[in-house]
Symmetry: C2
Subunit: 329 residues, 2 copies
């Protein structure tokens, strides 16, 4: 179902601190080169003094400028992140404050489907924009993964990076639209990637040396990949259904940057050549919900996407969910 | 802007453990009767062994049954809560699992604007339902406040309760619709009610006796009320604009159950009589995002709302946000 919306601006913020994979190798006591070989991540950024909503606001300012707009043109702010800065209130309000919009009244709320949060937020709000409720929506994905990594669980911890990406979504006329969107959640995989603690089930007050790992990321990458890979073909059929398009019509696939090895297999499964498949994991790692919009932003910056191109946003997330959007950029 | 949607079923789950206010008085070392007099809350429910997503699933089952539907009729599950069960994944996936829908593929994501989460989720998804994307959406607000209360901060801690409410939203034909919705966020009040810890800014690993209060709810009720009260008249003007309605046309106001005293003043400011203003705080306390749908559910159960009535959902939330929906039930 078409929605007349257009991504009119994008911006990102990367933490000041760049971490090479060799530094990670030292930290985890691995041979130099091991983590890059294993994950495909050469480098990533980790926050030092930055907070998630500070980064989100920095990215948002750039996105609004990139769109040729002013902050006063924005009429809705959505934080679309898999991690929260505080337990209460939602990230979007804190981003509004960093933007100096504390007296603006611009509505703020969060959408969360972990790594698919950006895709879910873009999908949901596109209906409201198409219906005329909002004209210029700021969608901000800002993630700090580094604070929650379990360095004893090497396979997952070596994958992630921090950073923020913001997108301005506008009502559109004839060109630019969402052509189709689809999401499927299979909670049989809900506990394949999780942080069990930190919420109401395991409150921080139970934190101790013994419970520490309950508050860190825990992932069974192999099981996630197996389930996702099995789900992919039928999922794609349902996403493409009624559009008259096939994967051959896609100018650029923007996948979630889950892991280099998974992305390689998915690309081959899709039957898409490297030049039509954005892969930026070597420089940023997996940035949770910020990965898809960052890859999209990079594709535009590098001139690999132009207006009118047909784009596929595609990813999996903790939940376990698989989601995608087909759009005319 | 009208959206043809209809609330076709509702259900709730209250924890097994009922807590009288006299018990709270003992706990905080207050004179018997003090907390009820101060908060207007006679009793509330606190979880013992229940988790948020377990309660959410219990409420969801009842809502689906109340709608005369089966779980297989549901095509989207949204968790609309101000609190999370785990840091990752989102609540909606965990609710899907408790419902036995782990292999269903029904899309799951969370919407969070603290106490207004239900209102935000209902508003956002109504555009997608109206456009034909979803037919039967389950919106679940399940909150556990008790684990995060600061009993040293009496004024806030005596207000809250736990519990879950679920609503089935359906595409509608001629009757039942959303007539208008509006939300405003003023982050100048972002730190007037918050839990600073538990997210990426203050990770649970810094939890200690000294930092304990960073992980508990902190509220300046007086300042929140002052700001909300100032914002209310202009907010209402904007919510009602274009509907041709005034507050006199509203059959029932369903307010967020913030506190008995605040609700009384708001009711008088609106110029609405008690019989047209749902007040259930004495029996449940403030149940965060579950308060508005619970008050709506009670209004229907008590026969105080019938099909075709014009209803105003109205509330404030941490952020600070003020939000509302005008709907024909």
């Amino acid at each position: 179902m078409n929605r007349k919306v257009k991504i009119v601006g994008m911006g990102s913020y990367l933490p000041k601190r760049l971490i090479e994979s060799t530094e990670i190798d030292k930290m985890i006591g691995a041979e130099s080169g091991w983590s890059e070989k294993k994950s495909g991540v050469k480098q990533r950024y980790f926050v030092s003094d930055e907070t998630a909503t500070y980064m989100g606001a920095k990215a948002a300012n750039k996105a609004v400028e990139n769109a040729g707009l002013c902050l006063s043109d924005i009429d809705c702010i959505i934080s679309a992140s898999g991690t929260n800065e505080q337990a209460i209130p939602c990230n979007a309000s804190l981003i509004q404050k960093h933007l100096g919009l504390q007296s603006s009244g611009i509505p703020c709320f969060d959408v969360n489907s972990t790594c698919l949060s950006f895709v879910s937020a873009l999908d949901m709000v596109s209906y409201a924009v198409d219906a005329g409720k909002y004209e210029k929506v700021l969608i901000v994905s800002s993630e700090i993964s580094s604070v929650g990594l379990n360095w004893k669980q090497r396979e997952s911890s070596i994958l992630f990076g921090d950073g923020a990406v913001a997108v301005v979504l506008s009502a559109a006329n004839n060109t630019s639209k969402i052509l189709s969107s689809h999401m499927e959640t299979y909670s049989e995989g809900a506990h394949l990637s999780e942080i069990r603690g930190g919420g109401t089930k395991l409150h921080p007050r139970i934190y101790s040396e013994q419970t520490a790992e309950e508050f860190l990321f825990d992932m069974d990458g192999r099981a996630i990949f197996k389930l996702s890979y099995k789900l992919l073909p039928d999922f794609l059929d349902r996403l493409f259904k009624g559009t008259g398009l096939t994967i051959a019509d896609i100018n650029m696939v923007i996948p979630h940057q889950a892991s280099a090895s998974a992305m390689k297999i998915i690309r081959k499964k899709l039957g898409v050549k490297e030049e039509r498949f954005m892969n930026i994991i070597d420089r940023y790692g997996n940035m949770i919900a910020a990965s898809i919009p960052l890859a999209l932003h990079e594709a535009v910056i590098q001139g690999r996407i132009k207006r009118g191109d047909t784009i596929l946003l595609l990813g999996t997330s903790a939940g376990l969910s698989i989601g995608g959007i087909l759009l005319e950029y």
